[in-house]
């Protein structure tokens, strides 16, 4: 890139590429900036998309390129499959889809590293002089390892959220095995750097160990923690892309990758903080495995209630706070819930939605679903805004949320979720919990809220229960 401006001829391909990449980097940053406000968000992704198209088209002009038919075939096939899958995926399945696309990006970064490293390895075996400095080789190796971890780890995250993989695999000495895989990958990478590519076997070993590490690291993490993990892998892919950008001397990749790397890291921290846990705790604590067993047993009984009674209770309330969780997403109940709330609003009941930062499987997951149903922003409140209001609410309606309203987090020091900020739904005069069955939640922890004197359980699928409530409110007259 430093030679571009000194090249003769104004329209040299290299100069055109550099200017286009600069434009792309600007469009990415401005696009992300616009995405940070609900009003301009829609245009933000269009700006970033325009940047991507410019960068892709101009990359065909790279000097010395060949294999155009392969490049075009791969782009067409990859784009069509992704476009088709992205269009038809349900809103509730968004988190795992993002995990999948993110894993693909990590895999692509690893592939770039693999091409460079295998080329160096074969050249070294053939006795040719090293083409890259040790610094560039190190960046290729590190970017390749990170990309490979993000690839296999994201696939496991996808499999877990999609329900393909239900087991949470844990065994004694797991951390030692994981550590050995990671350090082994780094050590082989060091050998490859020091010996100018070493040989193809060593290069294969780097990627093999890194891929295994990604799998082994993600397997023991419970599904409730997946939002944090997906966000982390998103940041890691960004970092891998930036490193490979250094290797290829590609400014667009360096800037876009680094921006995503740092933004993703901050987002990951925000999410871990919302659960009052450190990132290390999320990744290495075996959270949820022993939770139910070690915590103090919850005493009392759950008391059931009929939908008609709940309908009357809410119809004559002055304030109702709805707390949605992953159960609402699974049941696709957001439209019915909003229909119910509109009936209440028409009757003069004050309705608000309380969103816990980690409700659902991704930060803002509930907001996306409520936006899909058409709920206005000003009815949606986050934890800090709403918590003081529960005391003045006649009804707190919990739909498929569990750990985020568990008062044990405030009181029981032995509970694995102790210290996590929760929605104070238990402070409401009446608490109604819509829940499919009597079992414990995703994390396996019993919820003391369900056993309180002012709590009633409305058993059933979220969408069916909401439909029943709609009828009950209409019948209340």
């Amino acid at each position: 890139m430093d030679s571009a401006l000194s090249e003769p001829g104004f329209f040299s391909p290299r100069l055109l590429i550099d200017i286009s990449y600069f434009l792309t980097a600007c469009l990415f940053i401005l696009g992300l900036k616009r995405m940070s406000s609900p009003v301009t968000a829609r245009s933000g992704i269009v700006w970033a998309g325009a940047g991507m198209v410019v960068a892709t088209l101009v990359s065909f002009l790279y000097p010395g390129m060949s294999n155009y038919e392969l490049i075009i075939a791969a782009i067409v096939v990859g784009s069509l499959v992704a476009w088709w899958s992205g269009k038809r995926v349900a809103m509730t399945d968004m988190p795992q889809m993002i995990a999948l696309y993110n894993g693909m990006g990590g895999g692509a970064a690893a592939a770039i590293a693999a091409v460079e490293l295998y080329r160096a390895a074969y050249a070294n075996v053939a006795g040719a002089p090293a083409a890259h400095s040790n610094v560039v080789m190190s960046l290729a190796v590190i970017g390749g390892i990170i990309g490979a971890i993000s690839f296999s780890g994201s696939l496991i995250a996808w499999a877990k959220l999609q329900g393909v993989l239900n087991k949470t695999v844990r065994f004694g000495g797991q951390k030692i095995v994981n550590g050995a895989l990671f350090l082994g990958s780094l050590a082989v990478g060091f050998i490859v750097v020091m010996h100018h590519g070493a040989d193809p076997l060593h290069v294969s070993l780097i990627f093999g160990l890194a891929l295994l590490f990604g799998i082994a690291m993600t397997l023991p993490i419970g599904g409730a923690d997946m939002p944090v993990v997906i966000s982390l892998y998103n940041a890691l892919t960004g970092l891998a892309v930036a490193f490979e950008g250094f290797v290829l001397d590609n400014a667009a990749m360096i800037i876009a990758g680094t921006v995503v790397g740092s933004a993703g890291t901050l987002l990951t921290q925000l999410m871990a903080k919302a659960m009052n846990r450190s990132l290390a705790n999320v990744l290495f604590s075996d959270f949820g495995s022993s939770g139910g067993a070690t915590a103090t047993a919850v005493t009392g009984s759950m008391k059931a209630i009929e939908a008609s009674d709940v309908g009357v209770m809410m119809a004559f309330a002055s304030k109702v706070i709805v707390v949605p969780g992953y159960g609402m997403a699974v049941a696709q109940a957001q439209h019915k819930v909003w229909e119910m709330c509109q009936l209440l609003i028409d009757r003069g009941v004050q309705v608000k939605f309380a969103i816990h930062p980690v409700a659902g499987r991704m930060p803002g997951h509930m907001n996306v679903l409520l936006a899909e149903a058409g709920v206005p922003y000003d009815l949606i409140a986050d934890l800090d805004e709403i918590n003081a209001e529960f005391e003045t609410a006649d009804v707190a309606l919990i739909i498929g949320a569990n750990d985020v309203v568990n008062p044990v987090a405030r009181t029981d020091k032995s509970s694995p979720i102790y210290g996590m900020p929760i929605l104070n739904a238990d402070k409401a005069k009446n608490v109604i919990v819509i829940k499919r069955g009597q079992g414990a939640g995703f994390s396996g922890i019993e919820n003391a809220l369900f056993f309180l004197d002012n709590t009633r359980m409305l058993y059933g699928d979220g969408q069916k229960a909401a439909a029943e409530l709609v009828n009950a409110i209409k019948a209340a007259g």
Partner: protein, 101 residues
């Protein structure tokens, strides 16, 4: 580009990413994670260059897989982000026409 210039770019880009996210409301966290997921789809141009410079069969296979995955990252990331943000636009319009309390 020289190493030190690359380091400056890295540092400035890191601060830029941090600043962008720091002011985002919670409701946009998922779309923004998805949007940043799309942005690292820029790995596509790197994969294109890698495949474009591939000579041996092994390099071509790995390069082909790289471009395939990168195109999936970019296009899939765009489609899901666009779909999510489309809903925000719809709900914003409804709010203006007065659907609330």
């Amino acid at each position: 580009m020289t190493g030190i210039v690359a380091l400056y770019i890295f540092m400035l880009a890191a601060f830029t990413g941090y600043e962008i996210i720091a002011k985002v409301p919670v409701i946009l966290h998922t779309p923004l994670m998805s949007g940043s997921n799309f942005v690292h789809g820029i790995v596509l141009v790197g994969a294109m260059v890698a495949l474009g410079g591939a000579h041996t069969t092994l390099e071509k296979i790995i390069g082909f897989v790289g471009v395939l995955l990168a195109a999936g990252n970019a296009v899939g990331g765009y489609v899901v982000t666009e779909r999510m943000l489309e809903m925000f636009k719809a709900s914003g319009a409804r709010k203006k026409t007065g659907g609330g309390h």
